[in-house]
Amino acid sequence: MSVSTNKLPSDAAAHKPRTLRGQSAVWQARLIMLVMINIAQLWILAATVDAALARRYSTLLPLVIASGICFLITLSIIRWWRPTSKRFTSTGYIRDNNRG
């Protein structure tokens, strides 16, 4: 059995689990953040319904804006905040391995 990489097999074995652990941690963090934002948005929706029924119109716009900001944060987490890989950066660009 031959290994066709420059690194020693022992190096690869040492790095791989560490990378996977890191990716898994990022995925868990993404999930936790998304769930927390969803809970906050649920609270905002309940407050919006309360304000509408009580005719407190001045508080409606700030609540809708807050919900919109939560949605934008959710979008940014789903779209851009990703675990890094050997090929892609966290923002989706192809990694330049010859750099530096």
Binding site: L31, T48, L61, S67, T74
Partner: protein
């Protein structure tokens, strides 16, 4: 008895793949593993949370928008006779609708014989208020708020403002509703 129950539980909890073993030719050609289908990946769950976030935002915006649009509608107040008001005994109440069929209101004849009418929506969360004869006041059953029957002012509880007052006029024994205005906060 208990052994039969245990067997029944085991039968129910047993692996369903035995039950769903492919028997038809098409099932062999397209094998379907129910367990694998039930798995949700982290990516799918993240996307689901994103959709939930979008739905919550749309819900909040829609609810707020509808409330603002409703608030800008100014109904016209045409005088309307309140049917059945002339025969009311003191310390009783009558439900009616004013100024439109969607706006429920309550007419009260107090112990002294005078008439008072209010919009039936509580100013806290729009629950319908009712007249409590034993206490001679309007009460909200949702969060235990109470309003004065003669003025519509808040007696206690979470309501922040008095009830909307419906202006009345008695013409020849008939009670007429003439208009609606916010309650007196002083």
């Amino acid at each position: 008895m208990s052994s039969k129950l245990d067997e029944a539980i085991k039968a129910v909890l047993s692996d369903e793949r035995d039950v769903r073993a492919p028997t038809e030719p098409y099932q062999k050609d397209f094998p379907y593993d129910r367990g694998d289908e039930a798995q949700v990946t982290r990516r799918e769950f993240c996307n689901f949370l994103g959709l939930t976030s979008a739905a919550l935002f749309v819900g909040a915006a829609g609810f707020a928008g509808k409330a603002v649009i409703d608030s800008r509608e100014s109904p016209t107040f045409q005088p309307a006779q309140i049917a059945g008001a002339d025969g009311m005994a003191p310390n009783t109440a009558l439900s009616f609708h004013y100024p439109t069929a969607k706006d429920s209101a309550i007419l009260i004849r107090t112990v002294d014989g005078s008439y008072h009418a209010y919009a039936q929506q509580c100013t806290h969360l729009s629950c319908p208020v009712y007249y409590a004869r034993e206490h001679q006041r309007l009460e909200c059953p949702c969060h235990e708020g109470a309003f004065d029957a003669a003025t519509g002012n808040v007696l206690y509880g979470p309501p922040p403002r008095p009830l909307y007052v419906i202006e009345l006029e008695v013409r020849g024994g008939q009670v007429w509703a003439k208009g609606r205005k916010p309650g007196n906060t002083t």
